[in-house]
């Protein structure tokens, strides 16, 4: 833990001591608060929601990234250009944010490339087989009360929880 944060909490009247179990729980809670960023999360989410609504209102399309990307492979000419424009927009949007807030995004270091490749392959295969990903099912599908999207979202969330549980807590690997 950051020693300065510890001092701040002591000033506020908290005196967490790692030796006491109850206080250890308090420390864990405070540690969670340190990672948790609810305001930027909600604001970012609202922008994503606006983006999806805009695409549906004007173009009649679902802002599902895996569907838009997967469609690149066999798209007609007309279909191809809006898909490329949308994906290019995502890159530009991320770039703009990074220019306005330099240093906020930090790349992960030393993650094994083969593992990343394996993960990416499963994400690609799975999202095509399941007809959607976080954006298409969780953000757009649930909004129109599609039972397929609700089932898909519950499934990939549970599967994700289980996968991380096995990697971090059964195999004991933290990358």
């Amino acid at each position: 833990m950051n020693p300065n944060k510890y001092k701040d909490w002591c000033k506020l009247g908290f005196r967490p001591s790692p030796t006491n179990e109850l206080n250890q729980n308090l420390l864990n809670l405070l540690q969670i608060m340190e990672n948790f960023t609810p305001f930027s999360a909600i604001s970012g989410g609202i922008l994503i929601g606006l983006s999806a609504s805009l695409l549906l209102l004007f173009n009649g399309r679902i802002a599902g990234i895996s569907g838009i990307m997967g469609g690149l492979i066999h798209a007609s000419r007309e279909e191809l250009f809006w898909r490329i424009a949308f994906l290019l927009g995502i890159v530009i949007g991320a770039f703009l944010f990074d220019q306005i807030n330099p240093g906020l995004y930090q790349a992960r270091e030393n993650f094994p490339v083969w593992l990343l490749g394996l993960g990416g392959f499963l994400v690609g295969f799975g999202t095509r087989m399941g007809n959607g990903c976080t954006s298409g099912h969780a953000v757009c599908g649930i909004a129109r009360f599609s039972i397929r999207s609700i089932a898909a979202t519950i499934t990939f969330m549970l599967s994700g929880f289980l996968t991380v549980f096995v990697i971090r807590h059964v195999m004991g690997v933290t990358l």
Binding site: I92, F97, V123
Partner: protein, 136 residues
């Protein structure tokens, strides 16, 4: 041309929102999936923010006969929960938990100069092609 312009603006909003909410950070995503560890609930708030807007807007929009710039709404009309849906989603969840990336952040990472997102995009497309082969 109109369709392309809307798609571009919509994409920019999407990429900006994704980066603002830090969902482009794979460590943050994996910390969300790690409920038994140092849990970071931020992703729930991203989904809640997005769903608050889409739930409100989609139901108004879909009452229209057509979208503004096209002849019809393009979306899945399937309503049966079948094996490919659940199996595919389960496979996606495994890949998501391993890598910390879903498709959106894999694209957005390019704008952040992330080398990981290049690996992700290549392997995503390999996964797309593999699925096409298997489906035949």
């Amino acid at each position: 041309m109109k369709l392309i312009l809307v798609a571009l603006v919509s994409g920019i909003l999407f990429g900006f929102g994704l980066t603002l909410s830090q969902m482009t950070n794979p460590v943050k995503v994996i910390n969300f999936l790690d409920i038994a560890g140092n849990w970071d609930p931020s992703l729930i708030f991203v989904m809640a923010g997005a769903l608050a807007v889409t739930t409100l807007c989609f139901n108004k929009i879909l009452k229209r006969p057509t979208p503004l710039f096209d002849k019809a709404f393009y979306m899945s009309s399937k309503s049966v929960i079948d094996f490919p849906l659940l199996m595919g989603s389960a496979i996606f969840g495994i890949g998501w938990g391993i890598s910390g990336y879903c498709p959106g952040p894999s694209v957005a990472g390019l704008g952040l100069g992330s080398k990981e997102s290049v690996v992700m995009l290549i392997s995503l497309f390999l996964g797309f092609f593999a699925h096409r082969l298997v489906k035949r």
